[in-house]
């Protein structure tokens, strides 16, 4: 943690960056995102297991003043987000200084994004048994049960869009759900509206979701919507051998194809 503060101080005092995005102590023993803009604030930075927010979301929230160089404290999910965002031409390498944090909470220096890419691919990228179990549980249900399960979950949703706002990949300036010519997604948070919203969210993140689970963490109602994108990630990984957040150059799974893609349902 001292190393982190030290690093932040350096960057700010040599004006290598103007803002450091990290974590600070929050309410009731929680950590929360922090924006440090002067060396003397750097000591409020913390890093530990409570620091779970995917800070990459602030890289695509365009309210950081233009031409500011920022440093970002990057846990593993943040790194993967950065790779995906970079591959989608959303980030300017010259304006972002990534302070990597390893799984055992040590600082990692990165020369450039390619360096991050390399690091990521050295890590274990497979889905955890816990994740698998969550998906299997639902797969095991009958169609009717799955329908009922999701209808119940969705019926609680009141469309505060915390899932959207917390997701680094949801950076559209006009989200499909705010699009009304035509009205693709029914606006009210009734069952249909919620169903259409969540299916769109999932489909738009299909193969782009890096699996930080921020969406369901952010959800005030604890909807397990992270499972939707997780299911698709697993499926896309299995079907097309593609996973988000692992390559700067590989074409996105759904914007390419192989003639021999194997399906079982087309007549």
């Amino acid at each position: 943690m001292d190393k982190l503060r030290q690093k932040a101080k350096e960057l700010l005092s040599n004006n290598e960056v103007q803002i450091v995005v990290g974590y600070e102590e929050g309410t009731a023993g929680k950590a929360r995102p922090a924006f440090i803009s002067s060396p003397d604030q750097a000591d409020t930075l913390i890093y530990d297991e409570r620091c779970i927010h995917n800070l990459a979301v602030y890289l695509t929230q365009h309210k950081l003043p233009n031409n500011t160089k920022i440093a970002i404290v990057a846990s593993f999910p943040v790194m993967k987000s950065i790779i995906t965002l970079a591959s989608e031409k959303q980030l300017d390498e010259n304006f972002i200084n990534v302070i990597g944090i390893s799984k055992d909470n040590n600082l990692i220096e990165f020369k450039d994004f390619a360096d991050i890419e390399r690091y990521i691919n050295q890590q274990d990228l497979s889905f955890t048994p816990e994740e698998q179990a969550l998906i299997d549980k639902i797969d095991a249900m009958s169609m009717e049960e799955r329908w009922e399960y999701w209808q119940n979950e969705f019926s609680r949703c009141f469309k505060c869009y915390a899932c959207r706002s917390a997701c680094p990949m949801c950076y559209c300036t006009l989200c499909i759900t705010d699009f009304n010519q035509p009205q693709w997604v029914s606006v009210p948070s009734h069952k249909l509206g919620n169903f259409e919203w969540h299916i769109n969210r999932a489909m738009h993140l299909a193969g782009r979701c890096i699996g930080c689970d921020e969406c369901s963490r952010a959800c005030p109602l604890d909807l397990p919507i992270n499972l939707l994108t997780k299911k698709l990630s697993m499926d896309i990984q299995k079907q097309f051998g593609y996973s988000a957040g692992q390559s700067l150059t590989e074409p996105y799974a759904l914007s390419t194809y192989k003639p021999d893609d194997k399906e079982t349902f087309i007549r």
Binding site: K191, L192, E196, L228, Q239, Y257, I266
Partner: protein
């Protein structure tokens, strides 16, 4: 006459299946009138939301059909479509949507008889499944006064 007559929407590409359906006509092959066709330039143009919208607007079944692999007028539109459907179908199934209500098929401009067969088998299948009440329930819920 009070047998259930499903509403089926067909999203087809202009170059293969639409032309195939034309051939069905010119060959005077009869098929179930439940299916109505909407023309697209290519299956690659078909947005997954249209499928959901069709269900939301009362369709009991859907047919999506285009050129056989390698026959796409635009060379790869149907390959892209195929991938999307693979993913979308997984999504629908995971959410408990009845994927058996959606027929995906390749029908070429020369397969008039095949088009009739696709339509008829689909309609029969949907008749067995009955009206899509689950979806209807979800749609109609909005019209009940909500109590928060």
């Amino acid at each position: 006459m009070n047998e259930f007559e499903p509403k089926v929407v067909a999203f087809v590409c202009n170059w293969c299946t639409y032309a195939g359906a034309d051939l069905t006509g010119t060959s005077r092959i009869k098929y179930a009138p439940n299916v109505k066709i909407i023309r697209f330039p290519c299956t690659g143009r078909i947005d997954f939301m249209l499928i959901l919208k069709a269900f939301a607007k009362g369709a009991d079944g859907i047919i999506i059909s285009g050129c056989h692999p390698n026959d796409c007028h635009y060379t790869s539109g149907n390959f892209h479509a195929k991938r999307r459907w693979m993913v979308f179908r997984t999504m629908l199934d995971f959410l408990g949507v009845d994927v058996n209500r959606i027929t995906f098929s390749w029908v070429s401009a020369a397969e008039g008889a095949r088009w009739a067969e696709i339509v008829n088998t689909t309609v029969d299948g949907i008749k067995k499944l009955g009206p899509y009440d689950n979806y209807r329930k979800m749609v109609n819920e909005e019209t009940e006064v909500n109590n928060g």
